[in-house]
């Protein structure tokens, strides 16, 4: 057991993966000597050399496209995209190539490429640096999408992503990179594609993932003071979604609030709302309510605190759910 930040936990997870399998290699912009703009790959080039930790030319399609080629040759490339907004120049290779390779080859080929994307806001940054584009990838079959919310998950999920035979996009909650937590490097990892109930409750369920998990937990704690028992689920996997765990919870609580930073319209909350409404129709005391970003480009830093879903917005949604 060791205490470490999420960034450090990913670093350690990558180190373990590099040590374990010589086919694993990291690729990205500034991940070598600099250790990445968030230092997630700090020290790894020194330890494993420039063939295993590759500073690429500045071109995202190049990074993902060559990673696919390396995977075809038997390697396990882990790509770092510097910020959420910069995945777009490389987007073509993800849905049209990476996601489809297995189907295209009638199941013969796989492309176990991992794409790490630091995502989400709350860091006072400019455009393209605080975004949450996960829904765009979730809609594409052939990909898996996970997002850790704590150091323990961060350490294990990156390794599970690397050993997974399918392409996996790991969305890393960048404003939580410095969040510390206990990491059990010997504990058998839980299924990275399952949701986890982090707090038991009876009156309503809040589903969150990545950066909003601590917010959801805080909201639940605040609600407790008002005498309400809120269950909190860390979704962990955005594709596939562990609907079983959520359905089971909502069947008990009768109310569901889904929170994410991404804009509500067309976000993954809609998928949860639709599917849970279907699965738990007769248990629902209120419609599934969503707390998310507004339908606007992520706003400038000075107003982001008003934009980002916070404890109050979640509590307000819970209030509305209880009002039915």
């Amino acid at each position: 057991m060791a205490t470490m930040t999420i960034a450090k936990a990913i670093n350690e997870g990558l180190r373990a993966a590099l040590a374990q399998d010589p086919r694993t290699l990291l690729m990205g912009e500034d991940i070598g000597d600099l250790g990445g703009v968030y230092r997630v790959t700090d020290g790894l080039k020194k330890e494993f050399g420039a063939l295993r930790v590759v500073d690429t030319p500045l071109a995202e399609s190049g990074i993902i496209g060559t990673a696919i080629g390396l995977a075809l040759r038997g390697y396990r490339p882990v790509c770092e995209i510097q910020f959420d907004g910069f995945v777009f120049p490389g987007l073509n290779q993800i849905p049209t190539q990476l996601a489809k390779l297995r189907t295209r080859s009638d199941g013969m080929l796989s492309a176990p490429v991992v794409i790490r994307i630091p995502y989400g806001g709350g860091i006072g940054s400019g455009e393209h640096h605080p975004e949450s584009p996960e829904a765009l990838f979730a809609h594409t079959a052939g990909l898996r999408i996970i997002t850790p919310s704590n150091a323990q998950d961060a350490y294990w999920m990156i390794q599970q992503a690397i050993t997974c035979e399918d392409p996996v996009i790991v969305f890393e909650p960048k404003r939580r990179y410095w969040l510390k937590g206990e990491v059990d490097t010997s504990a058998p990892a839980v299924d990275p594609f399952s949701a986890q109930v982090l707090r038991r409750g009876t009156d309503a369920t809040v589903v969150a993932y990545g950066p909003l998990v601590p917010v959801a937990l805080a909201a639940a704690a605040a609600a407790e003071e008002d005498g309400r028992s809120i269950e909190v689920i860390d979704l962990r996997s955005i594709s596939p979604i562990d609907f079983d765990t959520v359905t089971e919870s909502v069947a008990r609580t009768g109310r569901l609030v889904v929170a994410h930073e991404a804009p509500t319209f067309g976000g993954i909350g809609g998928e949860l709302a639709a599917r849970i409404s279907e699965r738990a129709f007769l248990s629902l005391e209120a419609p599934v309510l969503r707390v998310g970003g507004f339908h606007m480009p992520y706003p400038v830093a000075r107003v982001e605190e008003h934009y980002l879903p916070d404890i109050d917005r979640i509590l307000e949604a819970l209030d509305r759910a209880f009002a039915y």
């Binding site: 071109a59 190049g62 696919i68 080629g69 075809l72 073509n92 190539q97 997974c164 035979e165 594709s239």
Partner: protein
């Protein structure tokens, strides 16, 4: 030629200008490019050119003095053309959804394909049936894609020939990444035979950002990759002059690696230049760009209508430069192949066509239920759930019959 270049003074009727130019000039002069086998079938002994500042002699890579080899090249091209014709016929008869003909490009494809060694790996776009042939892909397998029963068709790992990629230029990056993998394999096991990849793309695709990024990466990592651009003059209806003002081979200079333009209709020159380029790549000296200057003699696909955008005259200009014709002339004039050889080939092609037809007719569509298993390598609850729903739904019909 360019349909979109801005006219300097006023708008002009381009078709008229084009016709006038051609009428004036007579046969369009051949551009500067490497060639040993001229359209008239005369073989020159020498093949050298200035590449990236120094003179390269490609002659050691030429296989022009081996009659058996020449005949086998001719055989490949001949069978390939027959394959193309038969596939076109199958499409016309409704047996294929679409066909992508390659007639005119046999020299570029067989020449480059035959230059590959077993351990090399090719990344085609969607028209490289000739390269497929040289890699041992069953021609019938190619038609599975065009019959709509698969998006793949063969096992790329077995043939070292990747699946067709329809998003233009995407495969050029895969080729670079694969080559980077070969480099690493070589370093960890120096006993492995040196290997390279070859990335095929067209004059149209050359404009895509992915081609650029693949060249940047290849140069940066000295990746053993040969970029093989078939400039067949057209991207569907758009002439290559819209994509570039200068020979595409010159793009390589900007990245600091060699670029060569070769007569794509001269199978011998193509083979020699590609062999040289592959050796260059395999030996750690980095990438090479080859532009094979050729012509798409048919439509873009069977769904295309070239009369909408090009003059029959243009097509006729290219007929005398046919890659098969010139090798046949050479073989005959030099007494390197007799009538029996040509008759045997015709017979062989007839069998090929018949087999092909039988093969296509025998192809059955897959079952949608089976496709669910091909989305992910590892279990996936949503896919499993949807498969179950689909099965239940289909079973419902089996019970009831359809409703409508």
């Amino acid at each position: 030629m360019s349909g979109s270049r801005l006219p300097t003074a006023e708008f002009e009727a381009e078709d008229m200008v084009r016709s006038a130019q051609i009428a004036e000039a007579g046969l369009v002069p051949e551009p500067e490019m490497l060639q040993v086998l001229a359209p008239d079938g005369v073989l020159s002994a020498n093949l050298s050119a200035e590449v990236a500042g120094s003179v390269v002699d490609f002659s050691p890579y030429l296989s022009s003095t081996d009659p058996a080899h020449l005949r086998s090249l001719y055989r490949d091209m001949f069978l390939l053309r027959r394959f193309d014709q038969e596939s076109t016929a199958l499409q016309r008869q409704g047996q294929l959804a679409l066909w992508v003909p390659l007639t005119g490009q046999e020299g570029a494809q067989i020449g480059s394909g035959r230059a590959l060694e077993q351990q090399d790996y090719a990344f085609p776009t969607y028209r490289e049936h000739g390269v497929a042939l040289t890699r041992g892909v069953e021609l019938t397998e190619i038609l599975r894609l065009f019959r709509g029963v698969t998006n793949g068709g063969w096992d790329p790992r077995e043939k070292n020939f990747h699946l067709y990629t329809l998003v233009l230029a995407a495969q050029s990056l895969h080729a670079v990444g694969y080559a980077m993998g070969m480099q690493r394999d070589q370093l960890s096991d120096p006993a492995l035979p040196p290997a390279a990849t070859i990335a095929y793309f067209g004059d149209g695709a050359s404009s895509e950002g992915d081609v650029h990024e693949s060249m940047v990466f290849a140069a940066s990592f000295d990746a053993p990759v040969v970029f093989f651009c078939q400039n067949n003059q057209w991207a569907i209806s758009v002439p290559s002059t819209v994509q570039t003002r200068v020979p595409l081979a010159r793009r390589a200079e900007g990245y600091g690696f060699p670029g060569v333009r070769v007569d794509g209709n001269d199978v011998l020159a193509v083979e020699a230049v590609t062999r040289w380029a592959l050796e260059h790549a395999r030996s750690g000296r980095g990438p090479v760009l080859i532009e094979a200057y050729t012509y798409r003699m048919s439509a873009h696909t069977t769904a295309d209508d070239p009369t909408k955008y090009r003059l029959t005259q243009d097509e006729q200009e290219w007929r005398p430069r046919d890659p098969l014709l010139r090798l046949e002339t050479h073989l005959r004039s030099q007494g390197l192949a007799d009538e029996t050889f040509f008759e045997g080939l015709t017979q062989e092609a007839r069998t090929l066509a018949a087999d092909l037809r039988a093969g296509v007719l025998a192809m059955t569509g897959p079952d949608l239920a089976d496709r669910f298993a091909m989305v992910y390598a590892e279990p996936h609850p949503l896919v499993q759930e949807e498969l179950q729903l689909f099965r239940d739904y289909e079973a419902g019909f089996a019970d009831e019959g359809t409703r409508d």
